[in-house]
């Protein structure tokens, strides 16, 4: 329910607020606002870290060093970038569809932020453990498509429009195998709550193998991960903003902080995909808990796993070539969708098997 429940923070904070003479309803609201801001801060920090990480990883993979001037090891590079973006001129081209153009970044960022609401960072650290958490994740994940289309259309620029349309086609196409792939995990866990799914992965098989769903659902994991790449527009599926053909796709016409929102959302989404893969297939926050700060370890394990996946994304990004659009669509519909449907059969068999063994 609340980010800090495990520390007893919820009653403590509410009690403290009430002690300050704040009415009960306002205390509740203030608490939520605070928790929300905490998550947004997390997203922002993640974005800063990820950008730095991306540059470093890509740099080293390409036998470069990446940023190294600003701050120690170039650590402050992204902070500087953020500050630079803040000061950039805000250009709204003359012929844009203004309301659409202006609303688009908000929508994209909203979709990204909402996803984080159901990410179980640790046994107790989750903004809102909805019992339809996974559906919520899917729903807001695809909400981004609206934002991208609005951006592409509203810009009234050829690059933007093509980029927007492509990204919608891509999001829409990869949505289907993704949803079907997630189904396998749902079948095994028997719930849609993200926290419950993680809990379903506790324990081990045969005494040594963690009960992670990836061992039962390798296919589902791979499909989901590929779809995640496509949904977030990562290489090799980065056609919507393929800079060699479309300049910057749907955000060609955006500048300054508006662009930064897109940027933020993109990195937020990248992390969210990794995090959700972790939650569903890699046992989420499960891991050894040590006596030193026991409440922190699950979070650590979660971040480690998610970051490892994020690293994989970057790895893929620096090694793979971009697909052609027809290849990309074919890949979704003619390979991933049948495979995902097959995966459902496999999962159903597994569930039956587990019931048979267990009961």
């Amino acid at each position: 329910m609340d980010v800090t429940q495990g520390l007893g923070a919820y009653p403590a904070i509410i009690g403290w607020l009430k002690g300050c003479g704040v009415p009960a309803w306002l205390a509740e609201i203030l608490y939520r606002v605070g928790a929300g801001l905490l998550v947004l801060t997390l997203i922002s920090i993640l974005a800063l870290v990820l950008v730095y990480m991306l540059r470093k990883v890509m740099g080293h993979m390409q036998c470069r060093l990446g940023p190294r001037v600003t701050g120690p090891f170039g650590l402050l590079q992204t902070v500087a970038d953020a500050l630079k973006l803040m000061q950039k001129e805000d250009i709204i081209p003359a012929q844009v569809d203004r309301p659409v153009f202006i609303l688009a970044p908000y929508l994209v960022f909203l979709s990204c932020g909402m996803i984080f609401m159901v990410l179980p960072l640790s046994p107790t650290w989750i903004l809102n453990d909805l019992d339809v958490g996974l559906l919520f994740f899917i729903a807001f994940g695809s909400l981004a498509a609206f934002g991208l289309l609005m951006a592409g259309w509203g810009s009234n620029s050829k690059y933007s429009l093509v980029g927007g349309m492509r990204s919608v086609a891509q999001v829409v196409s990869y949505e289907v195998p993704m949803v079907l792939a997630l189904l396998g995990a749902v079948m095994l866990a028997g719930t849609l709550s993200t926290q419950e799914i993680v809990r379903a992965q506790s324990g081990t098989w045969l005494g040594f193998l963690p009960r992670w769903f990836i061992f039962l659902q390798p296919l589902g994991f791979i499909i989901y991960f590929l779809c995640g790449l496509a949904e977030t527009g990562q290489t090799p599926f980065d056609l919507p903003e393929g800079e060699s053909e479309l300049v910057a796709g749907y955000n060609t016409e955006y500048s300054g902080m508006r662009f930064a929102l897109f940027f933020l959302a993109e990195f937020g989404n990248t992390f969210a995909i990794s995090a959700m893969a972790t939650t569903l297939f890699l046992g989420g926050w499960h891991g050894p808990v040590f006596s030193f700060l026991p409440w922190l370890w699950p979070f650590v394990w979660f971040m480690v796993k998610a970051m490892a996946l994020t690293f994989c994304i970057m790895w893929v990004r620096s090694t793979w070539l971009r697909f052609r659009i027809d290849q990309m669509m074919d890949f979704a519909w003619k390979i991933l969708v049948p495979l995902a449907l097959l995966n459902i059969f496999v999962s159903a068999g597994e569930v039956a098997l587990i019931r048979w063994i267990g009961g």
């Binding site: 609201i29 928790a35 081209p93 809102n128 829409v172 074919d330 969708v337």
Partner: protein
């Protein structure tokens, strides 16, 4: 599983508030040079833009969208089934498998009819 509808209501507002705040901050901080027509022209590698931008799009996009709608809605049947799978009998298994087989036939038909070709 704990439902917190208050969070559900407040959190989107927090996100929007955050975005607005960030943009407002940028508005305060950023340079504000005078507008010029050239700067406000759409970006086309520096060449003056030609022709209509809002053109009609190729039909392939719509076809994908149609296939998507169908598949996406099917999942609303599969998800409840998946959640309740542990508690259901053999009949539910068979039904869902039939359902998926029918989906497969639909996919095959769309494939065969060329709805999945990027022409």
């Amino acid at each position: 599983m704990q439902q917190d509808y208050l969070t559900l209501a407040i959190y989107p507002l927090v996100i929007l508030g955050f975005s607005v705040f960030v943009l407002a901050l940028a508005w305060v901080l950023r340079a504000k040079p005078p507008k010029s027509p050239v700067k406000q022209a759409p970006y086309e590698c520096g060449i003056p833009t030609r022709g209509e931008t809002w053109v009609r799009f190729r039909v392939a996009y719509y076809l994908y969208a149609l296939v998507f709608v169908v598949f996406d809605v099917e999942t609303i049947f599969l998800y409840p089934w998946a959640v309740a799978l542990h508690r259901l009998g053999l009949f539910a298994y068979i039904e869902a498998i039939l359902f998926i087989l029918i989906l497969l036939v639909g996919l095959g038909y769309a494939w065969k009819e060329g709805a999945l070709e990027w022409k």
